[in-house]
């Protein structure tokens, strides 16, 4: 559940920081310990329930600027796409305070 309090007040200044934050949400939602650049949602055990959680968490953290449907490719979500899209949309500007 929501336990991102400790990172909540940090500003994100570069893509590496964003990557770290997204990885954190990803792991938490999917209840896994490790991710890498090539991770995809379904290989990490995602289902429709965790997809809802993922969208919700991302929205809580990055605001409601992200059109989540564009993240979906081939019935899956790729971590790398996720980071790229979020960076393009909200990167460097802000994250939720």
């Amino acid at each position: 559940m929501l336990s991102s309090q400790e990172t909540k007040n940090k500003k994100i200044h570069n893509k590496e920081q964003l990557q770290i934050k997204v990885n954190e949400i990803w792991k938490e939602v999917l209840k896994i310990d490790k991710v890498d650049d090539g991770s995809d949602f379904l290989s990490c055990g995602g289902n429709s329930l965790s997809m809802m959680q993922l969208f919700l968490q991302l929205e809580i953290f990055f605001g409601d600027e992200i059109p989540f449907d564009i993240l979906v490719k081939d019935g899956n979500i790729f971590l790398k796409t996720l980071v790229d899209v979020i960076w393009d949309l909200v990167g460097g500007v802000h994250c939720n305070e």
């Binding site: 379904l42 289902n47 429709s48 969208f55 989540f68 019935g75 899956n76």
Partner: protein, 839 residues
């Protein structure tokens, strides 16, 4: 939640509110009924205490629905909620009867939004155990809520000390959260997402219904169950995960595959019921209240042939949709309904729900505590399909509106669904291969036996029986009758042979196409027979056809010769490159032709006639029919209906229409006769009756419209008894026969055999027949019937696979009647005449 203050409900809850409005079609109370066994002896005090604590935690259980559709919380009184019955009997039989009666009691008086409270319990007390009967309105309970309710209740009963934690987040808070979503930018995006898709969303799958659901019809559902055993489900799960798919979407695709097959469409919408709750607070998974939502899922299997591609597509679509669930599917349906102007009920009445993965993280309550019996009913829905996991097995329910669906059809669908899942579990190949649909075995047998029409018929050249004098004892037997004069077989044969010999003299070679441009009368028939005598192929033209169309037909068929008459040839004077042979000038009918030597110039595999049909495209296509093809149909009809030399047909059809082929060759083969009415009599029922009575006509062979005119005329004649006429056989074809017409014909001509025939010019006059005896009220139409001898019929879908019983598809005709194609038109021939690899 404050007592006393009212609150608005979710869109889905509101639809359950509307669902009880008697006006709508398939209206009814939305409820779930469950039985849950507790394995300890009944202790009323303990039970009441447990229940009281649960009421205290979930104040929403005291929800009351106000007449304006808002919710309000009231105090619950235990006595309103619970009834107890101690069972004295231990006989299994009696217990079964008792359980049945209690289920019926609950199901027939479900909770209603107009009453309070919205749920009820009854306890059946047995020795050392008791059964909780629970019924709850869906406006209050979703699947997850019933789970929490029964779980907390039974935990408290088993363990008095178990603490029931207070909720820090209640249903009311969730409603508040859902409403707050509407303030967000993402909500606007989601509205646009759905709005942009509205115009392109397909319709609901078109399943065969026993009747259409009319306004005010009550919903009553029946359940069918199935599933996969543990080993198969395990194997299937592994394959699904390997393919990077979700369990729900893989099973949902298999379900859609069945729906697609039985509705013969690869593009439709279904409704998904999401039991998911937005995980915005830890207590969301501990609260009671219907938090479910629905969404519309567009299923598009077009151009996706393998199962894997189909699931991927469905999963992709559903994941995209999940980003936009803040807009309720109820609202999307309402918008669709506005666009399509239909009833709210039929927009998307097939529902898929899954609870797989929902309880998993919580505990094993359901795997240890079996729900012994359950029943669910939702308004507006036709088929409600639920899947869930129990004890490692995949289980599913198919709840369907009882009086809308044919029970057999649902059994077939369910069996095919089950075997598809089993195949998917056990074969890797089936995921990536284009799947061949196989009909259910029982249907396969029926289809095969209906098409088992092989029969020896002595087919040959159409004109041979007529010219072969030795067949007839009496050469002075009448062949053609008209008010002016009649022709015997001998006379007609002489005239036909004169024409034939004249054609031969002009150097016409066998298999040349010769057009005929004559008005109705004996000359048409003599010309047809003469052309065949010369070994040529006849092409009849209507004298009222516009000249440019005639020009097109003649050029298309490379026809250089045309048989006409001096009074008509004026119409043809602008046609170039054409030899007009005038039967009244160029052919001397009194010329004597040698009788004894008969030398036929063609074989039965050669063409007999070419008929131009417009078809749907408007461009005329010349259907080429060989002798043996038409001969096959004609000999079968003669045999089936005992047509003999005593029969006389009223020849109303134009010779450009293939019913005339039967009139001419059917009757002349059997030794019978044709009555040829004059032009003015062709559309006049009064003349028909006169002719029938005067010449003792026995066979009627027309399109239904002419018979309808006749019936209407006869129904107003008080001094005539049609039943006493000589008419013994009525053949109707070429168009839809209204049921009422069939009944009226039966009433007017009770002595006659009434036959409906069908087919296509492309398959030699007719390919199927049905003897109409009693017209049943339950029939939607007159049955198409059975294939004629040596012909077969198949109903195939767009993928050229068999359609199961009750499924609409395209009708394909096969067998000996098939034309040789369209004259000089290979493209159109290839489009319409196909080789099927399995048939």
């Amino acid at each position: 939640m404050n007592k006393g203050s009212s609150f608005p409900l979710t869109a889905l809850q509101q639809s359950y509110f509307i669902g009880e409005n008697d006006y709508f079609s398939l209206n009814g109370n939305a409820f779930v009924y469950l039985e849950h066994k507790i394995n300890c002896s009944w202790d009323e005090k303990n039970f009441s205490l447990a229940l009281k604590e649960i009421f205290l935690k979930h104040k929403i259980l005291g929800m009351q629905i106000l007449s304006d559709g808002l919710g309000k919380i009231r105090e619950l009184d235990l006595r309103d909620v619970i009834a107890v019955k101690e069972l004295t009997t231990e006989s299994e039989n009696e217990i079964e009867i008792y359980l049945k009666s209690i289920r019926n009691k609950f199901i027939f008086s479900p909770p209603s939004i107009k009453k309070f409270p919205l749920f009820r319990l009854e306890i059946s007390v047995f020795k050392n155990k008791f059964l909780i009967h629970f019924i709850g309105h869906l406006i209050l309970f979703d699947a997850y809520s019933t789970y929490i309710f029964l779980k907390e209740l039974s935990e408290k009963i088993y363990n008095k000390e178990k603490e029931i934690k207070k909720l820090a987040f209640e249903f009311h808070d969730y409603l508040f959260y859902l409403n707050s979503l509407k303030e967000k930018k993402s909500y606007q995006r989601s509205l646009d997402y759905w709005k942009n898709r509205l115009d392109n969303l397909p319709g609901a799958p078109d399943l065969y219904l026993l009747k259409s659901p009319n306004l005010g019809m009550k919903s009553k559902m029946k359940r069918k169950q199935g599933g996969l055993d543990e080993p198969d489900w395990k194997k299937l799960k592994n394959k699904i995960i390997q393919h990077k798919l979700t369990l729900n979407m893989a099973v949902c695709s298999a379900f859609c595959e069945i729906i697609a097959k039985w509705s013969n469409t690869n593009h439709f919408i279904i409704t998904l019921l999401h039991s998911n709750r937005y995980p915005i607070h830890p207590d969301i998974f501990h609260l009671i209240g219907n938090c479910s939502s629905i969404s519309i899922l567009e299923v598009d299997f077009r151009d996706k042939d393998t199962f894997l591609d189909r699931v991927k597509h469905l999963q992709n679509q559903s994941f995209k949709d999940m980003a936009h669930l803040s807009v309720s599917g109820v609202d999307v349906i309402r918008e669709l309904n506005k666009i399509r102007g239909g009833q709210i009920t039929a927009v998307s009445p097939i529902v898929f729900t899954s609870t797989i993965g929902l309880y998993e993280q919580q505990d094993d309550f359901f795997s240890e505590n079996k729900i012994d019996f359950s029943y669910i009913q939702t308004p507006f829905m036709w088929i409600d399909h639920q899947i869930y996991e129990q004890n490692g097995k995949l289980c599913f329910n198919i709840d369907y509106v009882e009086n809308l669906f044919c029970d057999d059809m649902l059994d077939d669908m369910l069996n095919t669904y089950r075997s598809l899942l089993k195949e998917l579990a056990n074969s890797d190949e089936i995921w990536t291969k284009v799947r061949n649909f196989s009909l259910p075995d029982a249907q396969k047998k029926i289809h095969a036996s209906i098409n088992q029409t092989k029969q020896f018929l002595p087919t040959g050249l159409l004109h041979v029986p007529f010219f072969d004098y030795r067949l007839y004892e009496d050469l002075n037997h009448i062949a053609l009758i008209s008010d002016q004069f009649s022709l015997t077989y001998k006379e007609l044969s002489e005239r036909a042979r004169t024409i034939g010999e004249c054609l031969k003299e002009r150097g016409i070679k066998p298999n040349t196409v010769i057009a005929i441009f004559l008005e109705k009368g004996w000359e048409q028939i003599a010309a047809i027979l003469g052309i065949l005598w010369a070994g040529a192929v006849y092409l009849p033209l209507d004298i009222n056809t516009p000249i440019n169309r005639i020009d097109f037909i003649l050029k298309k068929s490379d026809s250089k010769f045309i048989l006409s008459k001096s009074n008509l040839s004026d119409k043809l004077k602008y046609l170039t490159d054409l030899t007009i042979i005038q039967t009244d000038i160029d052919i001397r009918m009194n010329k004597i032709v040698e009788n004894d030597r008969i030398n036929f110039l063609q074989s039965q595999f050669d063409l007999a006639y070419i008929l131009f049909t417009s078809g749907s495209t408007g461009t005329p296509k010349g259907v080429m029919i060989a002798h043996k093809s038409a001969s096959n149909t004609i000999l079968d009809i003669i045999k089936k209906f005992n047509i003999s030399n005593k029969d006389i047909v009223l020849a109303l059809s134009s010779y450009t229409f293939d019913l005339s082929v039967f009139d001419i060759f059917g009757l002349l083969t059997a030794g019978g006769a044709l009555v040829l009415p004059k032009e003015a009599d062709l559309r006049d029922p009064e003349s028909w009756l006169r002719i029938i009575m005067k010449y003792q006509v026995t066979i009627w062979n027309t399109v239904p419209t002419l018979m309808q005119m006749f019936v209407e005329y006869l129904e107003h004649q008080s001094n005539i008894v049609p039943a006493e006429t000589s008419l013994r056989l009525i053949l109707l074809s070429g168009d839809w026969i209204p049921k009422s017409l069939a009944s009226r014909i039966k009433a007017i001509f009770p002595q006659a055999i009434l036959v409906s025939l069908g087919g296509a010019t492309e398959a030699s006059i007719w390919s199927n027949y049905y003897l109409i005896d009693k017209v049943e009220d339950s029939w939607p139409s007159i049955p198409y019937g059975f294939p004629l001898a040596n012909q077969q019929m198949y109903i195939l879908d767009a993928a050229m696979q068999h359609c199961p019983t009750w499924v609409k598809g395209d009708l394909y005709i096969a067998g000996d009647g098939l034309a040789d194609g369209y004259l000089n038109d290979l493209d159109k021939t290839n489009q319409s005449f196909l080789n099927h690899k399995d048939l």
